[in-house]
C-alpha cells in the first residue's frame, strides 16, 4: 500500500498540488478578532493579505488541534497502513505537538511517523513534494522517514521582508530580534536556522533583495527543486522565476504563495526562495 503523507498549511502546498501528489494538508487557523479561518480553506491568501493591510484588527494564528490531525489519521487509515506526517518547525508552532498528541490518541492499526522538519514554507514544502514522489514510486515508511531526515539539511530557505512592521508586531521572532527598531528603512533577509527565523543580512531596496534571492539560488546549480514564493507580488515572483530559468530547467522551478501564517510576520511584499539540493550520490 502506498504511504500517505500529511503536512500542514505552512508547507505552502496548494490544494491543487496536494491533490496531484496525494498529500493531505492540515490547515493552521488564522484569527482576526472574533473571526477564525482555516488557512487557505475558509480564507484565500489574497483575502488574508487584503485584510492584513487594510484592517485594524491584528491577526494571530494557532496550530491545528490534535483532533484535526486525529480526523485525518482516521480517514487515511481506511486507505493505508502507513502514514508519514511532516510538520513545520516545532520552535515556531505547536503543530508538531498536536500531530503527536493525535497519534497518542489514535487507536487504529496504521503506523504513523511524525517528523519535525525544523523548516517552514517551501523549504518544508519541497521536502514533502520530494517525499510524495518517492511514496508514489513505492517507497516504504521507513525509507521515507530516513530520506526526509537526510533531506532536511539540504533544504535551504531565504526570505526577503519588505517591511519590519509586521515582524515587530507579531512578537514571535526568535533570533531576528536584533533586526527590530532600525531607524532607516531596512529590508531584512532571513533564513531558518535550527528551527527558528534568523537574520542573514540587511538590504535597502527591493531590487537588492531580488538580486540576493537570485544569487542565493544560483549558488546551487544542481538543485532538485527551486521554489519561488511571494506574498502579494506575483509579477515580481514571475520575473524572478524567469531569471532563474536560465540556470534551472523550468520543470524544477515551483511557484508558490507564502502562507498567511508566515505572512502575519512577513507582511505584504515578502518574497522567498527555497533550494532543495540534490542528493549526493
Amino acid at each position: 500500500m502506498t504511504v500517505k503523507i500529511i503536512t500542514d498549511s505552512l508547507s505552502d502546498i496548494t490544494s491543487d498540488l496536494a491533490g496531484e501528489l496525494g498529500v493531505t494538508v492540515v490547515p493552521l487557523t488564522v484569527i482576526f478578532g472574533h473571526e477564525t479561518f482555516l488557512d487557505r480553506v475558509t480564507m484565500t491568501t489574497d483575502e488574508f493579505y487584503r485584510r492584513l493591510t487594510d484592517g485594524t484588527v491584528w491577526p494571530t494564528t494557532t496550530q491545528p488541534t490534535p483532533a484535526a490531525f486525529a480526523e485525518v489519521y482516521n480517514t487515511l487509515a481506511k486507505e493505508t497502513d502507513e502514514i508519514l506526517v511532516v510538520t513545520l518547525s516545532g520552535k515556531m508552532s505547536g503543530t508538531y505537538q498536536s500531530a503527536l498528541g493525535a497519534k497518542n490518541m489514535f487507536k487504529g492499526k496504521c503506523r504513523i511517523e511524525i517528523i519535525d522538519s525544523q523548516l517552514v514554507a517551501m523549504s518544508l514544502g519541497s521536502l514533502v513534494i520530494s517525499a510524495a514522489r518517492k511514496a508514489k514510486a513505492g517507497a516504504t515508511l521507513d525509507e521515507l522517514v530516513n530520506s526526509v531526515k537526510k533531506a532536511m539539511p539540504r533544504s535551504h530557505f531565504v526570505v526577503y521582508f519588505d517591511t519590519l512592521k509586521y515582524l515587530a508586531k507579531g512578537g514571535r521572532i526568535g533570533k531576528a530580534q536584533g533586526l527590530l527598531g532600525a531607524m532607516l528603512s531596512v529590508k531584512p533577509i532571513l533564513t531558518v536556522k535550527e528551527g527558528e527565523m534568523a537574520p542573514l543580512t540587511r538590504l535597502r531596496s527591493l531590487s537588492a533583495g531580488l538580486d540576493y534571492l537570485y544569487n542565493f539560488a544560483k549558488g546551487y546549480p544542481d538543485a532538485e527543486l527551486v521554489a519561488v514564493e511571494h506574498a502579494t507580488t506575483p509579477d515580481e515572483a514571475d520575473r524572478l522565476a524567469d531569471r532563474l530559468s536560465s540556470t534551472f530547467p523550468k520543470e524544477r522551478i515551483i511557484k508558490a504563495v507564502i502562507s498567511p501564517v508566515l505572512g502575519v510576520y512577513g507582511g505584504p511584499g515578502a518574497m522567498a526562495v527555497t533550494v532543495l539540493e540534490a542528493e549526493k550520490k
Partner: protein
C-alpha cells in the same frame, strides 16, 4: 462565537487558577525583563508566588459565592505578597473584591466595574505612583473593559477581550512612559505579568485550558523602536541602593495612612497596604532597623525579609551577563549626534564612542570601548578621515583581534554596518564591510572655518560649502541650492536611495523643505530624512 454570561465563585477560582498556571509558564521570561533599579529583581516569580498564595486561600474558603472567592483571593495575596509587584497585585485583587462585594456571581458589567475599582485601589496603595508600570496597565485595561460594557455588549468574554487587548497595548506602550524601560528596550515586567494573568483568564473563559498546555504566553515587544542596546562609553557615578525591606504586620486598629506618613521620609518605593488587622509594608531604606523597630511598636511582625539591594544589583548584573546573547563579533562606531548614535545602535552597533570632526576620540577612549565589549573579535568604524590613524593604533594595544574598516564618513559607516553578515566569520565580515563602504557616495554640507582658495573656488570664512566624498566641490549660500548642484554632478543611474541626515543646527522645517525638493527632482529615488543631530554639518547625505 462562544459566549459566557456569568460565572459563579467556583468558576472565578478556576479562572484564576488557570491564569496562575499561564503566568507560571513565563515567570522566568518576565524576570528577565527587569530593569534595575526598578524595585524587586524577580517580578515574574514574585507575582507567581503571590498568585499561588491567593489560590491556596481560595481553595480553603467555604464561601462559594463570587464575592467570597474574590475576598479569599485578596486575602491570600496580601498574606503571601512578594516584592513590589506582588504587593501591588494584592491591591488589585483587593479592589476587585471590593467591586464584587455581595455578588453571588459575576457578569461582564460587574467585572468591568470591579476592574475599575481594582485600578483605583492599586493607585491608592502606592505613596508615589509611577506611570508606565503595572498601575498604568491596570488603569488602561479597566477603562477598556468599562467602555466595552457601556457599549451594550456585556458578555463576559467580550469584556475580558477588551481588557486583554487594552492591557497588551498598554504594556507595549510602557517604554514611552518610563525612560529606564526605553533605554533597556524592554516593557515593564509587572505590567507584562498582569497582562499574562488577564490573558490566561480570558483563555479559560474561551474554553482553551486544554490547548494552553502546549503554548506559552507571549512576551510583548516594546512599541518603542530601541531593542538594540549599544553601550555608550561614558562613566557614571554609582549610588548605593540600600535594603529592600518587607514584612507583614498583625495586630489591631491599623491605619495605613498613618504608617505611610510615618515611614515616608525613611526610604523610597514605600507601599503600605492592608486592613485593620493585617498590613503589608514594603520599603527601600538605608536603615531597616529603624523601620522594624517602629513596626514592632504597632503589632507583631511576620515574614520579615531584608535584602541588600547592592548585592541584588550585582546578582542582576551577573544575570544580565548570562542573558546577554554571546556576540561573536562586536562592532564599535565613532559617531557624533544623538540621532546618528540611534541609527548606529538600531543597526546593531555594540558600542558607540562619541566623536567626529573637531572632536576626535583619543586612542585611550577607543581602547576602553574595545575592552568593554563582550567579544574577542572587534570591528571598528572610525567614520572620519582623522580618526582612522588613531584607530589603527588599537591593534598593537590589545590581545583582541581588531579590524579597522576605514570608513571616512557616516554614510560609509552605515553602509558597512548594513553589510554585516550574521553567518560569516570575522575576516569575511571585515572584507564585506570594506567593499560595502565603496558602494556609497557621501555629500557633506558645512560651513568653512576660514577663507581659502581651493579647487578654483574662492571661499570666504563661514560660507556654506559642499564636499563630495571629502573633496570640496561647491561653495554658496543656501544648503539646498548646494545639495541640488552637487546631486546634478553625480551619475545617479544606479542609485536607489538618498538618505539625508540633518544636523543639530538645522531645523526640521528646513530639512522638510529639502526633502520635498529632492523628492520632486528625483521621483524615481527613495528619499529618507533623519534627524542626525550631528554638530558642524548642516547635512550629511548618503547616495546608494
Amino acid at each position: 462565537m462562544k459566549q459566557v454570561e456569568t460565572i459563579n465563585g467556583r468558576e472565578l477560582k478556576e479562572m484564576l487558577t488557570t491564569a496562575t498556571s499561564w503566568l507560571e509558564k513565563s515567570a522566568s521570561d518576565i524576570d528577565a525583563l527587569n530593569v534595575f533599579p526598578v524595585p524587586d529583581g524577580d517580578t515574574g516569580t514574585n507575582m507567581l508566588l503571590t498568585m499561588r498564595s491567593s489560590i491556596d486561600e481560595a481553595n480553603q474558603t467555604a464561601d462559594s459565592s463570587a464575592a467570597g472567592v474574590a475576598q479569599a483571593i485578596a486575602r491570600g495575596a496580601l498574606l503571601g505578597a512578594r516584592g513590589n509587584s506582588g504587593v501591588i497585585l494584592s491591591q488589585i485583587w483587593r479592589g476587585l473584591a471590593e467591586g464584587l462585594e455581595n455578588k453571588p456571581s459575576v457578569n461582564g458589567a460587574d467585572f468591568a466595574e470591579a476592574m475599575h475599582q481594582a485600578s483605583v485601589t492599586a493607585y491608592k496603595g502606592i505613596s508615589n505612583p509611577v506611570e508606565g508600570t503595572i498601575l498604568t496597565v491596570a488603569k488602561d485595561a479597566a477603562e477598556a473593559g468599562q467602555a466595552q460594557a457601556a457599549n451594550g455588549d456585556a458578555d463576559l468574554i467580550s469584556v475580558l477581550e477588551a481588557i486583554v487587548s487594552a492591557a497588551s497595548e498598554s504594556v507595549a506602550n510602557t517604554p514611552t512612559l518610563l525612560p529606564v524601560l526605553k533605554d533597556a528596550g524592554v516593557v515593564d515586567a509587572g505590567g507584562q505579568g498582569l497582562y499574562t494573568i488577564l490573558e490566561g483568564a480570558l483563555r479559560y473563559l474561551r474554553g482553551e485550558a486544554e490547548q494552553m498546555q502546549f503554548r506559552k504566553p507571549l512576551i510583548i515587544a516594546s512599541s518603542v523602536p530601541q531593542p538594540a542596546r549599544a553601550m555608550r562609553i561614558s562613566p557614571k557615578e554609582e549610588k548605593p541602593f540600600g535594603y529592600c525591606t518587607e514584612f507583614l504586620l498583625k495586630g489591631t486598629g491599623f491605619n495605613q495612612e498613618k504608617i505611610k506618613t510615618k515611614l515616608k521620609k525613611d526610604g523610597e518605593s514605600l507601599i503600605v497596604v492592608g486592613d485593620d488587622n493585617t498590613t503589608r509594608v514594603h520599603i527601600h531604606t538605608e536603615d531597616p532597623g529603624k523601620i522594624i523597630r517602629y513596626a514592632t511598636s504597632l503589632g507583631t511582625v511576620h515574614q520579615i525579609s531584608i535584602r541588600n539591594m547592592d548585592e541584588q544589583h550585582q546578582d542582576y548584573l551577573e544575570m544580565q551577563k548570562d542573558r546577554t546573547p554571546e556576540i561573536d563579533i562586536a562592532t564599535i562606531a565613532v559617531v557624533a549626534g544623538e540621532g546618528l548614535a540611534d541609527v548606529f545602535t538600531s543597526l546593531g552597533t555594540t558600542a558607540i564612542v562619541s566623536g567626529g570632526q573637531t572632536m576626535n576620540p583619543s586612542t585611550k577612549e577607543l581602547l576602553m570601548a574595545v575592552k568593554s565589549v563582550a567579544s574577542d573579535k572587534v570591528i571598528v568604524l572610525p567614520n572620519n578621515k582623522n580618526i582612522i590613524l588613531t584607530a589603527q593604533q588599537l591593534q598593537s594595544l590589545t590581545d583582541k583581534q581588531v579590524e579597522i574598516v576605514p570608513t571616512e564618513t557616516i554614510p560609509q559607516g552605515v553602509a558597512a554596518l548594513l553589510a554585516f553578515d550574521y553567518e560569516a566569520d570575522f575576516q569575511t565580515n571585515a572584507k564585506l564591510m570594506r567593499e560595502a563602504k565603496a558602494a556609497v557616495r557621501t555629500i557633506e554640507i558645512t560651513r568653512a572655518v576660514r577663507g581659502a582658495h581651493l579647487n578654483g573656488l574662492n571661499i570666504k570664512k563661514k560660507q556654506t560649502i559642499g564636499l563630495l566624498d571629502g573633496e570640496l566641490l561647491v561653495a554658496g549660500k543656501d544648503p539646498l541650492d548646494i545639495l541640488t548642484k552637487m546631486l546634478a554632478k553625480l551619475d545617479l543611474t544606479n542609485a536607489q536611495i538618498i538618505t539625508i541626515y540633518y544636523g543639530a543646527d538645522t531645523d526640521t522645517v528646513e530639512a522638510e523643505a529639502v526633502n520635498t525638493s529632492i523628492r520632486e527632482q528625483y521621483p524615481r529615488l527613495q528619499v529618507e530624512v533623519i534627524q542626525g543631530g550631528q554638530p558642524h554639518y548642516n547635512y550629511i547625505v548618503s547616495i546608494e
